[in-house]
């Protein structure tokens, strides 16, 4: 785009080469080449990353094949490696976190985009941005010393006495486990849902709201039945983005999930997640197969987040286009 303003179309090849020479002399071509190398290195690094993950996990991929994903045993001494407990733990904790974070996040985003005056909305968004900047290990620290005791002494006994007939709320209350990890994770992903959803909601054209209000709907009805459905795909995008974050979340989860490779229907049970097992066992992994099994878990994590991020970006893009399109129409 920017180059079109200076590229005078040259008639003959002689003139073309002369302009190339003059460009070379004043450094433009060199600058172009140097900056190109920097830009290309980003692509190069990404390719190497995928390559390393792929070749680094060759042993278990050949030995276990697809069995890796359905085997429940993780026994480094017998060199039996199955990823099922970790995949289960990752999925369960992510779903619990979305179950909490989605209503809260979208509610807060509606408030920021539709209700709050500009100044208050901006101030609150500033705090939300700061919240997103809090590192994962800090959430883990608070999780260990506040959330775990809170869960063990209050929340889990309460859930058990009221909803204990459900299998998901049964078993002893350890404090650590799927539920605790899910709650800590929810707190971590809420800022992402709020920021993206708020932005998509703000992009909904004004006439949509006004038309709904003019037809006699209340403020809430215009928001919930017109504005939110209009931004639906973008909000879905924010949820996928949050899910991708949650799947790759390592430190906070490692500190509160209990680190036991179990598959249990109870959310009170201690568990394990893909990221947590890598964090805990990578430095202790003895033997190539053990290490490479962990790298294969990393590859699984990479592929999952890759797909989710791709879907999220498409959804957000689709809403942005739609919002812009109708505004002009």
């Amino acid at each position: 785009m920017a180059t079109s303003s200076i590229n005078v179309p040259s008639a003959s090849p002689v003139e073309g080469s002369r302009s190339f020479l003059s460009k070379l002399k004043n450094g433009d071509e060199i600058a172009r080449l140097v900056t190109f190398l920097f830009a290309a290195s980003v692509v190069f690094i990404t390719i190497i990353l995928v390559f390393e993950l792929w070749t680094g996990s060759a042993l278990p991929r050949h030995k276990f094949g697809l069995q890796f994903f359905v085997t429940r045993v993780w026994d480094p001494i017998a060199e039996e490696f199955g990823a099922l407990p970790f995949i289960y733990g990752t999925l369960v904790t992510s779903l619990v976190s979305l179950f909490i974070a989605v209503p809260l996040g979208i509610g807060a985003a509606i408030f920021l985009a539709e209700l709050a005056p500009q100044k208050i909305s901006d101030t609150l968004q500033f705090f939300i941005d700061l919240l997103a900047a809090v590192p994962s290990v800090i959430y883990g620290l608070l999780g260990v010393f506040i959330v775990i005791p809170l869960m063990r002494n209050w929340v889990q006994p309460f859930l058990k006495s009221t909803l204990g007939f459900l299998p998901i709320f049964s078993g002893p209350a350890y404090g650590v486990g799927f539920l605790t990890a899910g709650i800590v994770m929810a707190i971590m992903v809420i800022p992402y849902i709020i920021s993206v959803s708020r932005e998509v909601l703000l992009a909904v054209p004004r006439d949509q709201r006004e038309a709904a209000l003019a037809l006699g709907s209340t403020h809430w009805e215009s928001t919930w039945k017109v504005v939110v459905p209009f931004a639906r795909t973008g909000i879905m995008g924010s949820i996928f983005l949050a899910l991708a974050r949650a799947l790759g979340e390592t430190m906070a989860v490692t500190m509160v999930i209990g680190n036991t490779p179990t598959i249990s229907s109870s959310l009170f049970s201690p568990g394990y997640s893909i990221a947590a097992v890598i964090a805990n066992e990578f430095t202790e992994a003895t033997g190539d197969l053990y290490l490479q099994a962990l790298i294969e878990l990393g590859l699984v994590l990479f592929l999952l987040t890759f797909i989710l991020n791709g879907v999220a970006r498409l959804l957000i893009l689709a809403t942005a286009r739609r919002g812009g399109g109708t505004a002009h129409a």
Binding site: A2, V42, I128, T250, N309
Partner: protein, 283 residues
């Protein structure tokens, strides 16, 4: 009819109030975290924390001087790796590149941005730890630098693009070459935005723990040069928080307070830089 309308208004008022409650809960988490850290960290922090090495288990006292220096060393390495690639890459994208190459680079950057930090750690491990058979400061800094690239690249590109076209054309019309235009006109016009992007990227990687666990590892003593394992604040918080010693827990709170204080400060400074008299829009 009237009753129905009253009901609808009631529902509207109630639901809108609930959204306010949601926003309040979300924001109050920040103040809760801050308050708890200031309370717990404030009572544990003292001068020794900044000047002394960690003591052996069972001995009270000691500090995290090595981890503070370690974090600084790791972050300077990360800046050295992440910022040039991000900055010059962004210049290429915004000023030189055709649309195909730009698409590929942007796609790669977004992909890199979405990679979980623990996977970045694995990558740095296979590249810089496995062949040399020991953990090193360099591997840790490399992992953090990788994470800075996509953030710096994408925001810098956005800020370069938002520089008005008339500025470019004015410079070109005066006979300046393209490179002179970029370095003397466009980059200065966008420098606040670029500085903000770099600071935010720095704040983001400063708290990263997962990529350091098996690259920089940790160290209970001073780390000399760039080729030894090195302690860092986030990893220290992790190991101290899950250890069973009361004394270590206090140290973990103190380290948490210092780390979070630093990160939030950099964040606020970055945003203030951006909001003070800029010609470029907020991203």
């Amino acid at each position: 009819m009237n009753a129905r309308l009253r009901w609808r208004k009631l529902v509207s008022g109630f639901m809108l109030a609930m959204t306010g409650v949601c926003a309040l809960i979300a924001v109050s988490v920040l103040f809760f975290i801050l308050g708890y850290l200031v309370y717990n960290g404030g009572t544990s922090i003292n001068w020794d924390f900044f000047t002394k090495l960690p003591t052996p288990v069972g001995e009270s006292g000691g500090g995290m001087a090595n981890a503070i220096v370690g974090t600084a060393k790791l972050l300077s390495l990360a800046v050295l790796i992440g910022v040039p690639i991000g900055f010059f890459g962004a210049i290429y994208l915004a000023e030189f590149s055709g649309s195909t190459m730009a698409f590929i680079v942007r796609y790669a950057a977004d992909l890199l941005n979405g990679v979980p930090s623990i996977v970045i750690g694995i990558f740095a491990y296979t590249l810089l730890v496995l062949p040399f058979k020991h953990f090193s400061t360099f591997a840790g800094g490399f992992a953090l630098g990788l994470m800075m690239i996509p953030i710096t690249l994408r925001s810098t590109e956005e800020f370069l693009r938002s520089v008005p076209r008339s500025l470019r054309e004015g410079s070109m019309a005066l006979g300046a070459s393209k490179w002179t235009t970029i370095m003397r006109v466009i980059v200065p016009a966008a420098y606040r935005g670029i500085l903000t992007a770099v600071l935010l990227a720095l704040a983001r990687v400063a708290g990263e723990t997962a990529p350091l666990l098996f690259t920089a590892f940790s160290n209970r003593f001073w780390s000399h040069g760039w080729n030894e394992p090195i302690a860092s604040l986030p990893v220290m918080i992790f190991t101290y928080a899950i250890a069973p010693y009361e004394d270590w827990h206090h140290q973990a709170w103190a380290a948490g307070l210092v780390l979070l204080g630093l990160i939030l400060m950099v964040n606020i400074v970055a945003r203030v830089i951006l909001s003070r008299g800029v010609s470029v829009p907020r991203s």
